[in-house]
């Protein structure tokens, strides 16, 4: 008998063959799956499990000069219902008793959901009513029957649900239950939403981002390249329950959040301006009005308030008319506020001195060989007026004579130098260039009208920065509103510097003008109500008749007061422009009536807020005053 191993030869061979064959079968199947049918299965996986998920970037914040949030981004949720999910889940319960219990639990959960969302229970129940949607038969592949209708799987329940509300929904527990209840068919979609914590404050400066994430107007639109950030994306795989399989994340490009923007607008100054605007509107009921406050030395805007205005969080219900930034987009005749241009020009050219006298009792004067009739003054003067009196009493006749001394071309050139007739470069609000015709197109009487601020048109911003030329010592400054750009971690990456557009006047001329403009707010001037004792208010009133149907109206006026203080070392420039105000008890809406009081009240509050020191009385030194500047 031959010796045998641990198994019979034949059986051993069979076993070995079976093992080898098994391995061969497994290997063949592996080759089939991984090599031959690879593309087929990969495409199935791609379709079923593979997704490219967008990762939206968070829009940067807009901050005021002191770091208060003016615009920020938060998430909110849109809740929706899949009405068919409830009957499907009820049907999935095995026993009738379980079905009844599940139905009862879900009904209670829906009632609690309605309560949490502040909706009537009937609204939630209505969203759960199964409904059908008609579709072309060729596209009806969502359910078994190609009958031209599919189940409606998405019914929007509520938009704008806060994270806090949603957390409470997720933690919703029914009485007697330990675990939170899952509300059948409730789905949510999370998205970024822009909010404006201060509502109406600085609405025309900020602009807004609409529901399609498109910025509209203001800083939101201008600084969009900084603010919007860069959306990211990632490729993911999901399991059968649509939960991401994090280990299969393939490629990922993280979102880069938007940069922050710091404005020169100061919330407190803006609030002062808007509060004054509310008081002004309540008293005079104007068609439009603007209050502008800027830093006299840098040109940066501190506040810009318009009437009418709107709540940034309710932009959808605001007419477009109210959304227009009238400070930059509307044209008005500047009236007497323009008189600073010919006077400063004549001083700068050495044609006149502050002591020069003008006969303001004349009715006409010969210019270019022809007699030109002056616009009438409100008062008759029995003595020649000095240059200072011409401006403090706002004499049309005196200003026209100075305009004639300058001549068409020089008057025009200076007006352009002061920023009239060209865009200032203000980045917000579709700025208009204004109207200032070339002297070649002037009519015969324009030389008497233009020096008084008629026959030209300007935006409130142009008028404001025109006055800023004198406040800044002779420079036309660029209107700016953005101070800094911050990266996502809040570190400054770019700072905007004050920008001088051009030098218009010699410093001595600007100083002489400032001294003369102080007299406007003196007891002899047109705006004594603008005076603030101890603070050297310099400014100019303006009252322009409105051109209605081709004729200057006697009843509709644009009243304004544009000025700065303290005159000897200007800190702020303030403009108050009131279009078609109605003084109580009737009367003309003079700038001294409708605008100058507002100027004084704004200035009075700015003295406190910006800690502007009073100017020393004659004999006292500024240094001593600064040392004594404490308050009780």
């Amino acid at each position: 008998m031959t010796a045998r191993g641990f198994a019979h030869n034949l059986r051993l061979h069979l076993l070995a063959g079976a093992v080898v064959a098994s391995f061969a079968v497994v290997a063949a199947r592996l080759v089939e799956l991984h090599v031959l049918d690879r593309e087929h299965y990969l495409s199935q996986i791609q379709d079923a499990r593979h997704r490219v998920v967008a990762d939206p970037a968070r829009r940067g914040d807009i901050l005021d000069a002191r770091g208060d949030l003016l615009a920020t981004t938060r998430t909110d949720l849109t809740l929706a219902i899949d009405p068919w999910a409830l009957p499907e889940k009820i049907a999935a319960q095995k026993f009738a008793a379980r079905q009844a219990a599940f139905e009862t639990e879900q009904r209670a959960a829906r009632a609690a959901l309605a309560d949490l969302l502040g909706l009537p229970a009937a609204t939630v129940e209505a969203a759960y009513a199964p409904a059908w949607k008609d579709v072309p038969v060729t596209e009806d592949n969502a359910d078994d029957a190609a009958d031209g209708r599919v189940r409606m799987r998405y019914v929007k329940l509520l938009e704008g649900v806060t994270e806090e509300q949603f957390a409470r929904i997720q933690a919703l527990r029914l009485p007697g239950k330990k675990d939170p209840v899952r509300i059948a068919g409730l789905t949510h979609e999370r998205r970024f939403r822009r909010i404006y914590p201060h509502g109406e404050l600085a609405a025309h400066v900020l602009g807004y981002v609409n529901k399609e994430d498109v910025p509209s107007g203001g800083v939101e639109a201008f600084a969009d390249p900084y603010l919007k950030g860069l959306a990211g994306w990632r490729e993911i795989e999901r399991d059968g329950k649509r939960v991401e399989l994090a280990q299969f994340r393939q490629r990922e490009v993280p979102a880069a959040d938007g940069w922050g923007v710091v404005l020169s607008i100061d919330c407190a100054v803006q609030h002062i301006a808007e509060q004054e605007m509310s008081a002004l509107v309540a008293k005079f009921d104007p068609a439009k009005a603007t209050i502008i406050v800027s830093d006299a030395r840098t040109g940066f805007l501190l506040a810009l308030a318009n009437h009418p205005t709107f709540d940034l969080n309710k932009f959808g219900t605001t007419p477009l008319e109210k959304q227009r930034n009238i400070a930059a987009a509307d044209l008005i005749e500047p009236g007497s506020t323009f008189k600073i241009v010919p006077l400063a020009a004549a001083l700068n050219e050495g044609l006149v001195t502050p002591a020069s006298k003008f006969d303001c009792s004349l009715e006409s004067m010969v210019y270019n060989g022809k007699p030109r009739r002056f616009m009438r003054d409100d008062h008759r003067y029995d003595h020649p007026l000095s240059l200072g009196e011409v401006i403090s009493r706002s004499s049309n006749i005196g200003t026209a004579q100075i305009g004639m001394m300058l001549g068409d071309r020089r008057l025009y050139d200076y007006a352009r130098s002061f920023g009239y007739g060209e865009r200032s470069g203000f980045p917000l609000g579709r700025e208009e260039p204004g109207l200032l015709a070339d002297p070649a197109r002037w009519s015969g009487i324009d030389i008497t009208r233009i020096p008084a601020g008629y026959s030209i048109a300007a935006t409130p911003l142009q008028i404001h920065y025109g006055m800023g030329v004198i406040a800044s010592g002779g420079h036309l400054l660029r209107p700016q509103v953005i101070r800094q750009v911050l990266d996502a971690s809040g570190e400054p990456i770019y700072s905007f510097r004050p920008a001088v557009r051009r030098t218009v006047l010699a410093p001595a001329t600007a100083e002489a003008m400032a001294r003369m403009l102080q007299k406007v707010a003196s007891p002899d001037g047109t705006a004594k109500v603008a005076a603030l004792p101890g603070f050297e208010i310099a400014g100019k009133t303006g009252t322009a008749q409105k051109l209605i149907d081709g004729r200057y109206s006697e009843r509709h006026h644009v009243g304004s007061f544009v000025g700065f203080f303290p005159a000897s070392r200007p800190r702020v420039v303030i403009s108050v422009i009131v279009d078609d105000g109605h003084p109580p008890g009737g009367g003309t809406a003079y700038g001294s009536v409708v605008a100058a009081p507002s100027f004084r009240r704004v200035a009075e509050q700015l003295v406190q807020y910006l800690d502007i020191k009073p100017v020393a009385a004659p004999g006292a030194t500024l240094a001593a005053l600064a040392a004594e500047g404490g308050r009780r």
């Binding site: 191993g5 949030l69 406190q608 500047g629 009780r632």
Partner: protein, 134 residues
């Protein structure tokens, strides 16, 4: 022992297969375990990401609420609701002083402290100089 016979060869195949199965199985288990660990780690990272995002969302929401609560309009409303009677500072209510503020505050404080002692509850002190009596 026969090492070159057919049977021995078959034995070696069977043994080799068993060893390969064992090794392959062990390796498979190790790989499965490794992949499980990777999956757990990835899911933990994902959950942490979600929690960070959730926290950031809450921070942004609370930041917005704080900013709304601190807006000048809201503060004014609160001033009215709580009847605090706060008013904006106005130049007319400010007294600017021409002396050292520190000295002035000290003088005011001293005046407050000693004001009580100048009241009517004090008994006038009479000094009898040199023991003389009146």
């Amino acid at each position: 022992m026969h090492t070159r016979t057919t049977r021995a060869f078959a034995t070696q195949i069977v043994l080799g297969s068993l060893v390969a199965l064992g090794a392959g199985g062990g390796l498979g288990f190790a790989i499965v375990d490794l992949r499980h660990d990777i999956s757990v780690s990835a899911n933990t990272a994902r959950v942490l990401d979600q929690r960070i995002a959730e926290t950031e969302r809450r921070v942004a929401e609370i930041g917005g609420l704080v900013a709304t609560g601190q807006s000048p309009e809201a503060l004014e409303q609160r001033n009215q609701t709580l009847a605090l009677g706060l008013v904006p500072p106005a130049e007319g209510r400010v007294v600017r002083v021409g002396v050292s503020v520190t000295d002035r505050l000290a003088a005011n404080r001293k005046a407050e402290i000693f004001a009580a002692e100048t009241g009517q509850n004090l008994v006038p002190v009479r000094f009898n100089l040199g023991g003389a009596s009146r």
